[in-house]
């Protein structure tokens, strides 16, 4: 019975030319009048401040050739820059790292404490599909995770259907943050 019930909204949406045009026009006007930045879950500066209680002086790790090789093994390519910023305070280090999911950079904040991930927060999500990686139910899986000898995570987060590429990107960034921690 349930399978034969027509969802009223779908029937209404295309019931007449007028309604079809109304929906399409409404969608386009919504899109055209968009004012905000896409998928900004938290400003990078707010992430640093909320993670460390302050905005400490910016520091940077400049990767040597050998270190770039290790990074390539983690990411499958070089990181977008040789020098990577971080902020440290109270025994914690906050990294803001970026990796492409399918075609766009996912800007991610990662806090490391005592060689383990303390927190992961997706700050800016620019991809079309896979925004589920920004949810706490996914990122909290990475808490307490450390890096094994083979540069893999001690615990692999569960995949999300439809967000496989974004899950891979965040997993790589978690590994990268833990590796960078060993270089400080």
């Amino acid at each position: 019975m349930l399978l034969t019930m027509k969802p009223t909204i779908l029937v209404l949406a295309i019931a007449s030319k007028f309604l079809r045009l109304f929906f399409m026009t409404a969608f386009l006007i919504c899109g055209g009048s968009a004012l905000g930045a896409p998928g900004v879950y938290q400003k990078p500066s707010d992430f640093v401040k909320s993670s460390l209680g302050q905005i400490p002086a910016t520091r940077a790790i400049t990767l040597t050739g050998a270190q770039q090789t290790r990074v390539r093994a983690i990411l499958g390519k070089n990181y977008k820059s040789k020098a990577i910023r971080y902020w440290s305070a109270g025994g914690k280090t906050a990294y803001i790292l970026e990796e492409i999911g399918k075609t766009e950079y996912i800007t991610t904040g990662i806090v490391v404490k005592g060689g383990k991930i303390d927190a992961v927060k997706v700050l800016i999500y620019r991809e079309t599909h896979g925004g589920e990686v920004a949810r706490d139910s996914f990122t909290r899986q990475l808490r307490g995770v450390s890096l094994k000898v083979d540069s893999q995570l001690s615990k692999i987060p569960k995949n999300i259907a439809g967000a496989t590429l974004s899950v891979r990107a965040l997993t790589k960034l978690a590994r990268l943050a833990l590796y960078l921690e060993t270089l400080k």
Binding site: L2, L3, K6, P7, L10, A13, I14, A15, R20, M24, F27, L28, C30, G31, G32, A34, L35, G36, A37, P38, K43, P44, S45, D46, I55, A57, T58, R59, A73, G76, S81, A83, I84, R85, I100, K102, T103, E104, Y105, T107, I124, R126, T128, H129, E132, R135, S137, F138, R140, D150, Q152, I156, K158, N159, I160, A161, G162, T164, L165, R168
Partner: protein
Amino acid sequence: MKAQPALLGALMALASAPAHGVTLEELAARLDQLEKKVSKYEAKYGPLENAVPAPAPSDTIAMPTPVSRPATGIATAADIDAAFMDEANSGGAGNWTENTTLGAYGELHLNQGDKEQIDFHRFVVFMNHRFSDRIKLFTEVELEHSLAGDGKPGEVELEQAYIEFALDQGWVVRAGQYLLPIGILNEVHEPDTFYGVERNGIESNIIPTTWWEGGAMVSRDFPNGFGFDFGVHSGLAVSTDLTSSDAFRVRSGRQKVAEASASDYAASLRARYNGVEGLSLTAFANYQNDIAPESPEDNSALLVGGSAVYQNGGFGLRALVANWNISGDSFEANDADNQWGYYLEPSYHWKFGEQKVGIFGRYGYYEYARGAGNTRGGEFDELTVGVNYWPVNNVVLKADYTQIESDDAPNNETYNLGLGYSF
């Protein structure tokens, strides 16, 4: 920290000192003084190579920091945000090459058994362009079966071309030609993201994957894990010609937005839930005002279904059900008013560093329109078991055995090998 400008000043003075009239002894004395200053500086502030620049005066304008050479030292919140949110950094400004991204996927299939064939089934290139940080273009062009043209087996298809407008709070609007939010594989079907060489029969014959239409769609995600997509778009045009083997077949009704009939429209709705770790649930519906516009009778149609995907460690489970109800005497008389199917697919994978091996089994049942002469459709039981091997995340080698049993058609057994990639 404040000593650094003085130290740099001393260095510059030394470097710019005229060589004329300065004896070697005087130069040695100056170097000695400089060494003492450096020693004092390092004792107070640490090694010189770790030095950070002094903060900019408050009345100067903070410049965005280039990512390739990040500045260190005292940073304001605006500096940090500019470094990561600036459009130039994320590819949102500058020349078109910086704003344009390319990607691709492809899959080669080898079938042995009742079907013996080798086929580069799909070769896909996508190109996306960012007009601004919130307005983007997504396109995808596909060459199917390697060779297209008159009398050739393949097609060149524009699979997607839409503009996406990203709004605050997770609202997204897209307009153009887009993949419908129906089923598991329709939107995400890169070969390295699913098990099995060939796509399952339910998401070919019941949900006509890959299924795209022209129109507009709005999507929204909520922090509690719920989300939805709602679109109004062009519809299907299923044949009711009793002489055609495609008669009443939903898959053959795709117009592919190619000079497609726009006399009747359709709408899609999907609800999503991803609030539980490892679990993704969807419920979806598609309503066609008239699924057979060429037919004189009213043939409104409704597809409803749901999917579940669960992953816990190496264990994975996919399940999907989809059901069409199509009104009209012609569909009813040809046993095509109810076309439906489901499948269950448990799997398990092991990781070895970068490499991964997974095994799976899939059982599915589906029934769809037989068409004229009972040439295609019917009721089918489909069983597939196989293995995927990923040497790296984006490359997959596949092998499986598929058995399709039917009272309406000869049983079919194939051994399949596949090679797939995406980036």
